[in-house]
Symmetry: C2
Subunit: 276 residues, 2 copies
């Protein structure tokens, strides 16, 4: 790879540029942002998508899902044949569908690194953001062209863990292990905020509530796009969860909850231990 | 206060003894445990409830709720008139009812420090466990006898924040700000554990799920008692939550969720900021 165009220079985009530099990437990194911004020295130059696309070997779309979809549509007529277009979007079915329809000639590889923070923005970027994190990859062609293999080797060099997966499997998986957690945290915050205890909750709450509300701090911009493109599978996950929770909505049925608690605590311990 | 009997020398009981010593309590601290154990030097002696109750100025019951209730019933015939009996149990209505019925002559003051860890046991005790934490107090007599005022002054000296509250108000409040968070975390863990993704969740999950599963590590022993004595109000809180969550169970209705996200994130930021 000689020239990488990073489209979107916020938390994920700039962290990728910093990570590539730390892994001794010597090529050109072009930063593309919607609004003119001062870029750090990890970028060789700033450009528009129209300027960057024809000269890039790899275009990495780092934006919320609907912005990625809009960029893919624009890229169709811009990139050279054989250019790798990839992304870091949180859902994959809608993005892959768009690439199939609009990106001909280019090689598309869906991507989703499981890395992030509650706070976005380039000022929070760091070279180690992807270290040790799973980076989902969804193929649109097989076998992998050489440019895909080369990009995957860079994912490894920045210490992320590439994991190939199908778009449907990915979206179902993140609905259950990520999006469900977000809507629970958001719904919990809204439930307490809308209660008569809202003003008192601050003094009356302990560290348990505080932890459970961390995700709820996330803004709607990213989540609007996730819900718009994965709403069906989120609803399915919410349905499964609601059936489990319902056991606590019937006072007096707690004799059965011991088993639920035991299974839950064993699983939670395993996830939290292994994931560290 | 000359003699304090701490009944139950696990995380909360031993931490209270350590905290009192750090706050320069010079009196006698008696440790009462169901099973014979080696106590630390913060305790002057080990005794049975029968031995400790008649000589104590204050008896602090540090155990799960149903064990506290059992101890209150036993204490009725043991304590001297005017002795303060108090507790650290997670729910208050059932405990206050029991004290009203069984503790005559003694002064009862319900208590609930909002302090804890996922892991119990005396080996995790620390003098600072109560520092900065709210310590709920429920009166059973008014005005406060001098022994209550003296005990409250020690709560302040160990840097906890005493907050007087009614039993019903307390139980409703913790149902929403604490117990609800627990049953959500437990239900989330069980939902993922019971799905076909259980084995894959470990590699596919990010820090969001990990945080949301922290409470689920808690064991059932304590929670059995909480649900047994606060199940009606937990069910009410679960019902309110389920109504909010239901907005995510209908794909395509996400246009209304922006408002929900905004309210939730503003509230979560406030709680997490103030609570630090």
């Amino acid at each position: 790879l000689n020239t990488v165009a990073i489209v979107g220079v916020g938390l994920l985009g700039r962290s990728l540029a910093l990570a590539l530099r730390r892994a001794r990437f010597k090529g050109t990194i072009i930063g593309v942002s919607r609004t003119p911004r001062q870029l750090g020295p990890e970028f060789n130059l700033a450009a528009t998508l129209e300027q960057a696309a024809p000269v890039a070997d790899v275009v990495v779309l780092c934006a919320p899902v609907l912005a990625i979809i809009a960029d893919i549509k624009r890229l169709g007529t811009m990139v050279r044949p054989g250019t790798l277009v990839t992304d870091v979007g949180s859902t994959k079915r809608a993005i892959l569908d768009t690439a199939h329809e609009h990106l001909h000639g280019a090689v598309f590889l869906g991507g989703h690194p499981m890395a992030g923070k509650q706070v976005g923005g380039m000022e929070h970027a760091e070279a180690g953001l992807y270290s040790g994190k799973t980076w989902f990859l969804v193929r649109s062609v097989e076998p992998d062209p050489p440019v895909v293999a080369e990009f995957v080797s860079w994912i490894k060099r920045i210490r992320a863990k590439p994991m190939f997966i199908g778009a449907e499997d990915h979206d179902r998986s993140v609905a259950l292990t990520s999006h469900l957690a977000q809507v629970l945290s958001t719904s919990l915050a809204a439930t307490v905020a809308d209660s008569d205890l809202a003003d008192k909750a601050r003094d009356r709450s302990g560290p348990g509530l505080r932890d459970m509300l961390r995700l709820a701090e996330s803004g709607y911009d990213m989540w609007h796009d996730i819900l718009a493109t994965n709403g069906d599978l989120v609803a399915e996950a919410v349905g499964r969860f609601a059936a489990t929770l319902d056991q606590f909505a019937q006072p007096g049925q707690y004799s059965r909850c011991g088993h639920l608690f035991d299974r839950a605590s064993a699983f939670a311990r395993e996830i939290r231990k292994k994931a560290k």
